[in-house]
Symmetry: C2
Subunit: 353 residues, 2 copies
Amino acid sequence: VDVRLAMTGFGNVGQGVAQLLAEHRDEYKARYGVRLLLTGAADRGGAAVDPAGLDERTLLRAKQERGSVSASGQEQTGVVGEEFLVNSRANVFIEAASTNFVDAEPGWSLIRSALSLDMDIVMASKGALVLYYSELMELARSRGKTVAYSATIGAPLPILELTNRALVGTTILGFEGVLNGTSNVILQAMIEGNSYDDGVRAAQELGIAETDPTLDVDGWDAAAKAAIVANAAFGSALGIEDVVRQGIRGITPEDIQAATREGSTLKLVSTASRRDGVVVAEVRVERRGPTDPLGRLRGPEMGVVMHADPLGDFTATVENSGGVTGGIATAFTVLRDVLNLARSQGWNSSRPA
Amino acid sequence: VDVRLAMTGFGNVGQGVAQLLAEHRDEYKARYGVRLLLTGAADRGGAAVDPAGLDERTLLRAKQERGSVSASGQEQTGVVGEEFLVNSRANVFIEAASTNFVDAEPGWSLIRSALSLDMDIVMASKGALVLYYSELMELARSRGKTVAYSATIGAPLPILELTNRALVGTTILGFEGVLNGTSNVILQAMIEGNSYDDGVRAAQELGIAETDPTLDVDGWDAAAKAAIVANAAFGSALGIEDVVRQGIRGITPEDIQAATREGSTLKLVSTASRRDGVVVAEVRVERRGPTDPLGRLRGPEMGVVMHADPLGDFTATVENSGGVTGGIATAFTVLRDVLNLARSQGWNSSRPA
């Protein structure tokens, strides 16, 4: 069975998705029973559309050599809007453009169009989730469609697998997570004696830093993740502005050394808890010891601890990725959402082509 | 919407399920949209059946005071067999009797009957999973029914949430897990200077030790879990006899002290990996350091590390449960499987009563 995907955004994540599709299409078909076709791809320069499936390697070459997928010579549209989605005939819309915390556009308009066109949504961008959470979820519910967003919160951590499945029947009291890869890499670089600026460059070389590093180092990205995880864990509707926020820009080598002297490391921690029915979310820099589940993490490694009543603390971490982090790890998580969606919808067995 | 449950086994796990239903029925209804009714309960002494729902507190009292649910004065059947399932009119059959690694009876016969009666299956007993894995899964597939078994492998760890969801799209290379609570508690007691026998008693007081402690201390339980997790991770069909097995019975205070001197602890580790298409599973006692994700675990705490290509090592642990372990933790996991099943089947929204 074919599953058609339309995707906006062709940066690290979008290119990762295209690369994984090109390399693993047959494997996914054999393992999961669905053939994933990229039928629409768009970036700031325009779009390429072919409802029979674009050639991803051609798209990747066009992006690298000419700056946009719209230069790929494949069937095109110049305008990226509802027409792009209609022409792609996609079953799933993947929103992977650069995150925008001001108005979440153009993603938010495209998501609404996609839902009205009966598409399910897989998000790698956080904007609409932290600016229009209630409206987005209500719209999806009213259309009977799924919004999957594992890729927005510390991909590839199994956070929503915890909140939505493993912790069903318990009460989540709170969580704490090391979810911003860029801050991790910068702090790790400083621990190793390098400067803050060296750390920023290292994160950019790993393909981890967001397009605008301000979003990472001032805690905006970690705050968005705190809000998204809180909403999944508590059924709240926090926006990014509801999160008390601290970044790592002001951290000095002296701060780092003081932590090192007591055997600890500094971590940018996204946290939230519910007390008396009120959800409080915060991002702050904390010292964590070497046996702490989050303090153990090095470099770009990420993790989360969920406090569940009465079963205790559920920890999930990802380590030793051998450099497979950032855009590629997020791209894997996008495709995991697509493949799980395909299974939950029964597309792998019963859906007409 | 009502979901009717028939359950065999009324030991620590079964009583935990009954207690949770009695205490949380209204909360589950409000949160998850389904009213869970226990319409059949059976133990070695007989059964109680009422398709309108048994009173769990009466069952618990009968068990404690008179040794069997069949003495509860509720509508009864004397024989526990297919008739018990038919009369319960259950949607879901919960198999929570003592695990039997010889022939998996009477659970295996009841599971086959339940599938033929169009019931989904939630297992807390491991027997049928490690003696008849292929046959069980093929039978469920042919009937279009679900077999859920999170409660059999280190409950409440999110192991199947990793293998079946979070790691979709990656290739699992291997895993290592601390999955046997009894061995954990015994080794911890010995680390604290107590004898092996003290440790066994501590595990029994926590309600963690299996009915026959041989299954724990000789590694049978850990071996069964290695096989079950391997089958989920690799699509293999290992049985318990395929697992190379070591237990903790031979561990001496000297072994413990030697590990302590190097800052490590001994753990009974269930492990498996796939090499050249062949799955090899093993249970062995290993030294683990204090910053190791499994070495950090204390007392009854459990954890698993999955090695996924190319994303790295996914760790999941449960800690600081405040004594909520063993039977109650397993009972929570049974109900999580039931509630997730209800959602995946759409029972919470669309199913006629």
